[in-house]
């Protein structure tokens, strides 16, 4: 009972705002440390690939941003589900704050994929199952953001966006499966981006470190964005008034 009470206490924007403020530097710092370590491993420890030479190093950014773009979508849908189930304002704010970062990662995944594809397969874009799904994932993000932005009533926008995110999350596996099916049927370029299990341990370590960096970065950025959303939405409340007064 007590823990439940505590949870709801932190679920109120007024108490979460300063807490998030204290957490952001730690996550940002962790992101920087992990990124430095990951880049070091990626560029200096991991050996040159026998077939792809140096261009394979794109993997250290491509795979982490792809993972994050999918992971963030699920987290966003989960926040939306929590918000719809328990009617907590904070969950919707978190869901909204994650969407732009997730969309950015999806875009970066496509961008780095294209830059990798050009020297490796000789073309900027391949209708490969993974790339196609990533493109559709980007569309899903854009749909959620467009819906949230188009609805003037914030509460309705939150709830509609959350519902769409959940619908999308249910559909993501189906979409992925259908795209793989389509891809094998048409014997298109089927390229394995993640390499065989014999992948050097250093490569795996670099990818994991970069993924952690992306993860920490996403948390820091989404918390910062959530703080802005809180201020915007609660601007007429007493605590924001006090905060603005004391900030002088």
């Amino acid at each position: 009972m007590f823990s439940l009470f505590n949870w709801f206490r932190y679920a109120s924007p007024q108490t979460f705002y300063p807490l998030a403020g204290r957490m952001i530097p730690w996550f940002a710092g962790a992101a920087a440390v992990f990124a430095a370590a990951g880049l070091y491993v990626g560029f200096f420890v991991a050996p040159t690939d026998a077939q792809q030479s140096e261009v394979y190093r794109v993997i250290f950014i491509h795979v982490p941003v792809s993972w994050m773009s999918m992971f963030i979508y699920l987290v966003m849908a989960a926040w939306g589900a929590i918000g719809l189930a328990f009617n907590t304002r904070l969950s919707f704010m978190m869901a909204r704050s994650l969407a732009p970062t997730g969309a950015l990662f999806a875009f970066l995944s496509l961008w780095t994929g294209a830059l990798w594809g050009r020297p490796t397969w000789g073309t900027w874009w391949v209708w490969d199952a993974r790339l196609t799904s990533e493109l559709i994932l980007l569309f899903l993000y854009l749909g959620v953001m467009a819906l949230q932005a188009a609805i003037d009533d914030q509460r309705r926008g939150d709830r509609a966006g959350a519902l769409l995110a959940i619908i999308g999350a249910i559909n993501v596996p189906i979409i992925y499966f259908s795209v793989v099916w389509w891809n094998t049927l048409h014997q298109g370029a089927s390229v394995s981006l993640t390499r065989a299990p014999s992948m050097a341990r250093a490569m795996l370590a670099g990818m994991l470190l970069m993924s952690l960096a992306c993860w920490m970065y996403s948390i820091a950025v989404s918390l910062a964005r959530a703080r802005c959303i809180m201020l915007e939405r609660e601007r007429h409340t007493a605590w924001v008034g006090e905060l603005a007064g004391s900030a002088s």
Binding site: V55, V58, W111, T112, W116, P119, Y217, R227, C228
Partner: protein, 56 residues
């Protein structure tokens, strides 16, 4: 160590454009997102301050 010299490092075995294009754009995206967030926050705080001083 993979690289004999800084020049070799930046050349990336002839794939500099692709490798640095990937990492560079990601870096730029991260920096832009951070700057935008900072600007959003400072603008917001300024606005709130003028609101709270306008009608105390």
């Amino acid at each position: 160590m993979n690289w004999g010299s800084p020049a070799e490092f930046f050349a990336m075995g002839g794939y500099a454009f692709y490798v640095w294009g990937s990492f560079g754009v990601c870096m730029i995206a991260v920096v832009i997102e951070t700057i935008l967030l900072f600007r959003r926050r400072t603008n917001l705080l300024l606005q709130l301050k003028s609101e709270s001083s306008g009608n105390p």
